[in-house]
């Protein structure tokens, strides 16, 4: 078992030990800390006030355009990473491919930054 994949084996052990130390940090206060419950203590915190109405109110997602832009970039970055992997043995395509990818990224960047400045749309 040890010879199969040393690194992964010890990575699993490391994550397991970290998880256990986290759970141990929970167990100690649960067993030892005093526990005096009251309705006010378990109420939602709202800077000293008892919160009126529902807590799950709706917020404006003003920067939603940026989250959409993140989707565009996140996918394209993967192709850039693939190209970065084959940096040396790339020949003339080594220049054309990244230039094309960066060129593809620029129009959505300009468009979305302009769009996200128009705050009243969101």
């Amino acid at each position: 078992m040890l010879e199969a994949d040393q690194g992964l084996y010890w990575f699993v052990v490391f994550v397991l030990i970290m998880l256990e130390s986290g759970l141990l940090f929970y167990l100690i206060p649960m067993l030892l800390a005093p526990r005096k419950r009251s309705a006010l203590k378990e109420e939602t915190f709202e800077a000293g006030q008892v919160p009126p109405g529902s807590k799950r109110i709706r917020f404006a997602l003003q920067y939603y355009a940026y989250l959409l832009l993140f989707l565009v970039f996140d996918v394209t970055i993967m192709f850039l990473f693939l190209w970065g992997f084959s940096f040396v043995n790339s020949g003339p395509w080594g220049f054309i491919y990244p230039l094309a990818l960066v060129g593809v990224l620029i129009p959505p960047l300009v468009f979305t930054v302009k769009l996200s400045k128009a705050m009243d749309l969101w």
């Binding site: 690194g7 992964l8 994550v15 970290m18 167990l27 800390a33 378990e42 939602t44 850039l80 990473f81």
Partner: protein, 372 residues
């Protein structure tokens, strides 16, 4: 009725945590009894072999013990440094050691004996498990950072990508924590963490890509080995600066400490957390600080390469320097607004990082000759 189910939840949680811990300890015994026997036999025959055993790495040097000590020192150092700059004294009295260096330990002990309060409107299971998940997502990348050719827990061919996989989960955990708290402040904080991550993950990837291009590998080990001659901060200074800025945003350190802005939204996504649940978040963030300091040192500062003293000591020094730089921002910078942060990320850092990649493409033939 409602209060009785809440009490049941606390008991069920206690039982669940205890059972999970027992299963974990049993797994540990199964996984570790042979390595433990090895280590014990080394103790009597050849003690120096213990220092290169993987169990030593997991428990002490790049693993649990080292990370814990550096995290505690970073918590103390951040408070003390900010205090010195602002002409205060800072932590002073805790323990017998000078400078109040035991203050984080005292804080930990205090948090261990505080009550865990679970708000009655929260999604309780997610609320309670989010800190553990955050701690795990902060701690797992530590195993991927090499401290010398032999001191690495998991030497994986795509370790840089695996590092980003774990750190990319972090804001999702924060958003879950903010949503499950069922509190307006928490949810705003979680959303801000999400915006921040979406704005600064792309520049971070792009600037890490320049190190990948120079070393021709995704393995952090190979990237560090490629820097025996010249450090990548010399070859790609722009991406080092961009990466450092993105790390500050990723760790929610000071100019970008927007998701937990105390003076605006109480404590952001941590508002409802109390006692050790809060402490676990706090500790997780500082463990993540250690991981990212190591990543920056490996990508741009040459990893363990250096003259005179042995390799792991160089890495420890570099991690210390980077961590000090990161925590010193607390004393120097004010907090910027969320819209400033997002527009700075998209309109300045990303074009800079793309520009830097184009520079590297143009210089490719020269760089290849320089590094080979």
């Amino acid at each position: 009725m409602a209060s009785s189910t809440r009490r049941d939840f606390f008991k069920a949680l206690l039982a669940g945590v205890a059972i999970a811990l027992l299963i974990g300890v049993a797994l540990d015994v199964v996984l570790l009894y042979r390595p433990l026997l090895d280590v014990l036999s080394y103790l009597f025959t050849n003690p120096s072999l213990i220092l290169i055993h993987p169990l030593f790495m997991v428990l002490i040097f790049p693993g649990l013990g080292f990370v814990g000590i550096v995290a505690v020192l970073a918590i103390w150092g951040e408070r003390k440094f900010a205090a010195k700059v602002q002409n205060r004294v800072g932590p002073l009295y805790a323990g017998a050691l000078p400078g109040g260096i035991l203050q984080p330990i005292a804080d930990l002990l205090k948090l261990l004996f505080k009550e865990i309060i679970i708000p009655k409107d929260s999604d309780r299971l997610v609320f309670v498990m989010a800190p553990v998940a955050a701690f795990l997502m902060g701690a797992a990348p530590v195993a991927l950072v090499p401290y010398s050719p032999s001191y690495v827990i998991f030497d994986f061919p795509l370790s840089l990508l695996l590092f980003f996989v774990f750190t990319g989960f972090f804001p999702m955990v924060l958003l879950l924590a903010g949503w499950s708290s069922n509190n307006k402040f928490s949810f705003i904080g979680g959303l801000r963490a999400l915006y921040q991550q979406a704005s600064y993950e792309i520049p971070m990837f792009l600037s890490a890509l320049s190190a990948v291009m120079l070393a021709k590998s995704f393995s952090l080990m190979d990237i560090a080995k490629a820097q025996t001659g010249v450090w990548f901060i010399v070859l790609a200074p722009i991406s080092a600066v961009v990466f450092f800025t993105a790390v500050l945003a990723e760790l929610e350190k000071f100019p970008f400490e927007i998701p937990e802005a105390e003076s605006e939204i109480v404590a952001g996504w941590m508002t409802e957390y109390s006692g050790m649940t809060y402490g676990l978040y706090w500790f997780g963030i500082y463990v993540k600080l250690v991981a990212f300091s190591g990543l920056f040192a490996v990508l741009f500062l040459g990893g363990w390469n250096g003259p005179l003293i042995p390799a792991p000591w160089w890495m420890i020094i570099k991690v210390g320097v980077v961590a000090t730089l990161i925590i010193s921002t607390r004393a120097f910078f004010p907090r910027i607004r969320i819209d400033q942060l997002i527009s700075a990320g998209w309109t300045k850092l990303i074009p800079l990082a793309l520009f830097n990649i184009l520079i590297l493409v143009a210089l490719q033939p020269w760089l290849v000759r320089l590094l080979s």
